[in-house]
């Protein structure tokens, strides 16, 4: 005759996690089943052995080594944070400096000279014309604008 062993319930039985009804059912079964009774005994034996195996203790100075390590980690974090803050400030200052220099460079860059072809110069005695001839046909833009406005 095939017997149904309530394997899953046995585990819960060993942990006292069954309802009263289930517990009664398992107790009745155990009364007549050597194999299941042995299973429950083995589960309990494993528990006892696990507890016996768990006999590790830490060194006496463990508390102090934890505190020392935790404090040193905290100090490292503080140093790292202040270094990081300093580095961030340096980067911001450098960025501002570079942007300022670029802006100044754009603002102060001289205007490109205006090229005046020689054949356009009709009056070589003119100061402007003379200037053009003396500078290989190029004069600053502001001089050119001034000349155009005053002639």
């Amino acid at each position: 005759m095939k017997t149904n062993h309530p394997k899953r319930l046995l585990s819960l039985y060993a942990d006292d996690e069954l309802t009263a009804e289930q517990r009664q059912e398992v107790t009745d079964h155990l009364a007549s089943c050597d194999s299941c009774r042995r299973s429950v005994e083995e589960m309990r034996a494993v528990r006892v052995q696990i507890r016996k195996a768990a006999d590790v203790s830490l060194p006496d100075n463990f508390v102090y080594s934890v505190l020392r390590a935790a404090r040193s980690e905290q100090e490292e974090t503080v140093v790292w944070l202040s270094t990081e803050r300093f580095a961030r400030n340096v980067v911001v200052a450098l960025s501002v400096l570079v942007l300022t220099l670029i802006g100044l460079g754009t603002f102060l860059r001289p205007e490109p000279p205006v090229r005046v072809d020689r054949y356009l110069i009709t009056e070589p005695s003119d100061t402007l014309a003379g200037q053009v001839l003396g500078t290989q046909g190029e004069i600053p833009k502001d001089v050119m604008v001034y000349a155009a406005l005053t002639k």
Partner: protein, 193 residues
């Protein structure tokens, strides 16, 4: 008679800068933490360093601890998570192969026969090793659950909360873990009969 402060008082004192309170917390739970690590990783050499790492994490986060669980289960959760990370990182599942496990047992038996006067201590240590080795053969999820149940004596509900899984999953994992342990320890139990 002076009563020792409860966990809540210790946490509050630590938040106000009292490091003695932290020392007391470490003293209170260091043994359990060390044994959880030992049973989960099966290696005595790693216990000191990893226990220290657990309490450093506690020190770092205690200021933010909200008491939504007991301090006890919060610290255990940190220890268990650290062990799980460690198992994953080192792929410790290698642990002990069945052959190695059997060989160890046979060697142990041979030694016992060769030295009938072998001290009880040695035999006791070997027995412990057999159980710890059998634990290492379980998958990390089964191992963690069975350690919390058998060593910590946590209820199914407490385990579920600690590991953020359902109570049904706890029941199922404990059952599976026990089945695997029974298979691994078959010879050990034969010897006992």
């Amino acid at each position: 008679m002076e009563h020792s402060p409860d966990d809540f008082q210790l946490v509050e004192a630590f938040r106000k800068g009292d490091e003695k309170a932290f020392e007391e917390i470490v003293r209170r739970y260091q043994r359990q933490v060390a044994n959880i690590i030992y049973l989960t990783l099966g290696n005595r050499q790693e216990v000191d360093d990893l226990s220290q790492e657990v309490f450093i994490r506690v020190y770092r986060s205690l200021g933010r601890f909200q008491f939504d669980a007991s301090l006890y289960s919060w610290i255990y959760r940190i220890a268990v998570n650290l062990c799980i990370d460690e198992v994953r990182r080192r792929k410790i599942r290698k642990a002990v192969s069945l052959e190695f496990f059997t060989e160890n047992r046979l060697e142990g038996e041979k030694r016992s026969k060769e030295r009938p006067t072998a001290s009880d201590d040695v035999l006791r240590e070997e027995k412990k090793k057999v159980v710890v080795d059998a634990l290492q053969k379980l998958s990390p999820v089964h191992r963690t659950v069975i350690v919390l149940r058998e060593y910590e004596d946590m209820s199914y509900e407490e385990i579920a909360k600690t590991l953020h899984i359902s109570t049904q999953a706890v029941k199922s994992r404990i059952f599976r873990a026990r089945e695997e342990l029974r298979k691994s320890l078959k010879d050990y139990f034969k010897e006992r009969v």
